[in-house]
């Protein structure tokens, strides 16, 4: 049984701050339940006032009844709204507290400890119930616009005017960054029995890896995974978010996460256009899974022409943008150093990647061609031994040729 007065005030404050952090970054009842479950080493079940399932977390280590309704009905009340739960064959027992929004009952929060580690933390259960009450009240508040959180509205392009978005954010106590980078993350092959716990772990790993000095990271639960919106007011913040995201799979391995991680990173976008970076992140994740075998988080910028193929086409302007972006570093180098890297690359592809023939066509020694190809790889960031990178460069060259004025 969970009794009261064992957690210190400092511990309670720390836990309450954790709940606030989860809620402020978009975490709903499920994330709040997972936060409580981690503290108590317990399974946590949230049900609404109609005994409908809302969330379950931490159920990997023990069985949990589909509903607490019968257990609560059978149990005596302790006068503080807490109910001791006795499940058959479970010596530790559990506890349930009512979730209230003012005087209105909104549901029940039931805790089923895995061992004796949850004793003395009833205050934490009450705090979690209060935080969940805020989320359930918001969902029950009526009106489509109010039901959706600010971030959901932003991502679904509900704002046409950046000022309107900023004002709405301010009204909700959200400090909006100028730009964001989205990171989409999913775990593959999770067993249902451990999924809730594992997703809590994954959320923590991602937040620790992505941690930002430029503001709070927003967490959105999407499908079977998460989308993290990382504030990127400056170019360097976007670069760091991208680098950190690519470290998530490795960090998960270090933390013995036990499942494959796949993800994608969008390009930085202004807050009003946050949907674009989210879409790019999810596209990148899809491409990483389908073409690169998963177990990695791939930035959109590194995917070359694949996003275009995924979308089933592009406008001429989009094609030119892709080609320019890929070839720009080589073009800049050629202009500055009076070199022929673009010409060498085009010829190299034209002659079927035969260095000897390319050297003859260019009237240079083949070692010079090898040297230039190494330079091309370093400057463009594309590996000429990689089939994926070759496709990107070939396509960029083809688009460039097709759009050339010298027709």
């Amino acid at each position: 049984m969970i009794d009261s007065a064992v957690m210190s005030n400092d511990e309670l404050v720390e836990f309450a701050e954790g709940l606030a952090r989860v809620a402020s970054t978009g975490g709903g009842p499920k994330a709040l339940a997972a936060h409580l479950g981690t503290l108590l080493d317990a399974a946590v079940l949230v049900e609404d006032a109609e005994w409908r399932h809302v969330a379950l977390a931490g159920a990997a280590k023990r069985s949990v009844p589909p509903s607490s309704r019968d257990l609560i009905s059978a149990a005596p009340k302790d006068g503080e709204g807490a109910v001791a739960l006795q499940t058959p064959g479970d010596a530790a027992g559990g506890v349930a507290v009512r979730i209230r929004g003012g005087d209105s009952p909104l549901g029940w929060l039931s805790v089923f400890p895995n061992g004796s580690g949850a004793e003395g933390r009833l205050a934490a259960v009450r705090l979690a119930a209060a935080a969940i009450a805020v989320e359930l009240s918001r969902d029950a508040g009526g009106g489509r616009n109010r039901r959706k959180s600010f971030w959901d509205r932003l991502i679904s392009r509900a704002y046409d005017d950046p000022i309107e978005a900023k004002d709405d954010a301010t009204a909700r106590g959200i400090s909006l960054a100028a730009s964001y980078v989205a990171v989409a993350i999913e775990a593959e092959g999770l067993e249902e029995t451990v999924a809730a716990t594992k997703m809590g772990d994954l959320r923590r790993i991602c937040l620790e890896t992505l941690r930002s000095g430029s503001g709070d990271i927003v967490v959105l639960e999407r499908g079977g995974g998460f989308v993290f919106l990382c504030p990127a007011p400056m170019e360097v913040d976007a670069a760091n978010a991208r680098t950190a995201a690519t470290l998530i799979a490795r960090t998960a391995t270090k933390n013995h996460f036990g499942a494959k991680i796949v993800g994608g990173v969008g390009r930085p976008a202004e807050a009003i256009a946050a949907h674009r970076t989210v879409e790019e992140a999810r596209e990148s994740m899809f491409i990483a899974r389908r073409l690169f075998g998963g177990s990695r988080v791939m930035p959109y910028e590194d995917l070359g022409v694949y996003p275009m193929l995924l979308r089933g086409g592009a406008t001429s302007a989009e094609l030119r943008e892709v080609s320019d972006r890929i070839l720009a570093p080589l073009r800049a180098y050629d202009e500055k150093h009076q070199t022929e890297l673009i010409r060498t690359l085009r010829l190299y592809f034209d002659v079927g990647q035969n260095v000897k023939t390319a050297a003859a066509e260019l009237s240079v020694h083949r070692h010079t061609v090898f040297y230039r190809l190494r330079q091309i790889a370093e400057i463009s960031g594309h590996d000429l031994d990689s089939a994926h990178d070759q496709l990107t460069l070939r396509t960029a060259m083809a688009i460039d040729a097709l759009n050339s004025h010298e027709r």
């Binding site: 620790e208 890896t209 941690r211 400056m234 170019e235 360097v236 670069a239 760091n240 680098t243 950190a244 470290l247 490795r250 960090t251 391995t253 270090k254 570093p329 370093e378 400057i379």
Partner: protein, 448 residues
């Protein structure tokens, strides 16, 4: 240089006494550095060696800059037996060896003003994130002619540049002898070559532990001056001996082990996480550690947009003038090269602050942004703002202000060393500020 015997065991007291006897050593120099990195020593007859090894040799700490001020205080010298080495020359016909020492108080407690002890503490403090970290140094210096009366000049009969070979060049011959002497004393020398400036040379020391790498710079400075003098030359580690000459730097390499058990792909060409985060920490703390790594007013005449000296907190794979460069991988370890330090630094303090900065970066997962391609000199204000790139201090005065603001770098030094260093350098800068320099007379004497 940190010796082990041929059977792989660490050297002990009995081994040192035996080696001294076998090599017919007559005197032993008990060597240590002051806070400014100046090499000091107490010479003892070999008969006193056992007493010295037991830490019973004392000296007057009150007479050393930055040690104990205003009073006479006995300090103990605690030799590090692993540094025992016999000089490959004789002194008055007698063989001479040296032992590098840590400094302790009279009652045997580690002295907080000892730079070498400070580095040992920094290494301990970073043990959670920097186990197995090694360092190698690329040291640049000039060999100049000696003028009348033995006064050093900035002239050289050598007109060579990068990697030039001129076998009749006295500098070339002296450098070869310096390398030979270093190897005889147990230092690993990876390579040496002529550098950009006329009379400028570089010696690259093999990677080793951070303490041994710092000891090696002290040894190199001592050996180079000794050998150069025998060739009628003057070896100087002054960062910028003349306006028209390339400055001399010390490039500090850090080699991070990569651990497959920790999820690192050791076959991957990419940097490991620790190296990446270390770069983040180094860039973050660079303005503060510059005072320690570039400790003289002259150091800042080198840190200008010329001769590939770093001036911004930038990292790169290719650019030769970035602050941190990532060299091409040569084995499974991740390497980074810090390019700002110069050979006038106290190597123990420089290594302490670099290590503390890197360790802070690893612990805080500090990411460094994207690496720069191209020359850092071409970055405009807007590009620097977007990348949050900072400018390295342009004077010793500015560097001291940055150092004062950085608690991580100051903590690596400890209060005693920080305050003594600051006071010494503020006084040095003030003397420089009051001096009237030749340039001023040239520019103003006729005009006004």
């Amino acid at each position: 240089m940190h010796s082990t015997l041929t059977n792989g065991k660490a050297i002990n007291k009995r081994d040192v006494l035996r080696l001294a006897k076998e090599r017919d050593v007559r005197f032993v120099r008990l060597s240590f550095v002051d806070i400014l990195g100046i090499n000091k020593s107490v010479s003892i007859p070999v008969a006193e060696l056992e007493r010295a090894i037991e830490g019973r040799v004392t000296f007057d700490g009150g007479s050393i800059d930055g040690f104990v001020r205003g009073e006479e205080a006995d300090m103990r010298l605690l030799p590090d037996l692993a540094t025992f080495a016999v000089y490959p020359w004789t002194n008055g016909g007698h063989n001479e060896a040296r032992l590098i020492c840590n400094i302790a108080t009279a009652d045997g407690e580690p002295f907080e003003g000892c730079p070498r002890t400070t580095l040992m503490r920094a290494i301990d403090d970073a043990a959670d994130v920097a186990t197995g970290l090694q360092s190698g140094l690329e040291v640049e210096f000039y060999l100049f002619d000696v003028g009348p009366g033995g006064a050093p000049t900035t002239a050289s009969n050598d007109v060579g540049s990068y990697f030039d070979i001129n076998e009749s060049d006295r500098g070339e011959l002296a450098r070869t002898e310096i390398v030979t002497a270093l190897e005889a004393m147990g230092l690993g020398v990876a390579s040496s070559h002529h550098e950009h400036g006329a009379g400028q040379h570089e010696i690259d020391l093999r990677e080793t532990g951070l303490l041994a790498a710092s000891d090696a710079l002290i040894t190199l400075r001592t050996v180079a001056k000794h050998v150069a003098a025998r060739h009628g030359l003057h070896a100087t580690f002054m960062p910028k001996p003349a306006e028209h000459l390339a400055g001399s730097g010390v490039h500090v390499y850090f080699a991070f082990p990569r651990d497959a058990a920790e999820g690192e792909d050791v076959e991957d060409d990419d940097l490991g996480e620790n190296a990446l985060f270390a770069i983040g920490g180094l860039l973050e703390h660079a303005p503060a550690f510059t005072a320690i790594c570039n400790p003289t007013v002259n150091s800042y005449k080198r840190l200008v947009a010329a001769w590939d000296a770093p001036i911004y907190t930038v990292w790169s794979h290719r650019s030769a003038n970035s602050l941190v460069r990532v060299p091409s991988p040569e084995d499974a370890r991740s390497r980074i090269e810090v390019r700002s330090a110069d050979p006038s630094c106290n190597p123990y303090l420089a290594m302490s602050v670099l290590l503390a900065s890197a360790a802070h970066g690893i612990r805080s997962h500090a990411l460094p942004g994207d690496p720069l391609t191209g020359s850092t000199y071409e970055l405009n204000d807007r590009e620097r703002d977007r990348r949050r790139i900072k400018t390295l201090p342009k004077s010793l005065r500015q560097a001291l202000v940055e150092l004062e603001k950085d608690v991580v770098v100051r903590a690596a030094l400890g209060d005693h060393i920080y305050l003594a260093f600051r006071d010494a350098k503020v006084a040095e800068y003030e003397r420089y500020r009051r001096a009237v320099h030749p340039w001023e007379r040239e520019a103003y004497l006729r005009v006004y």
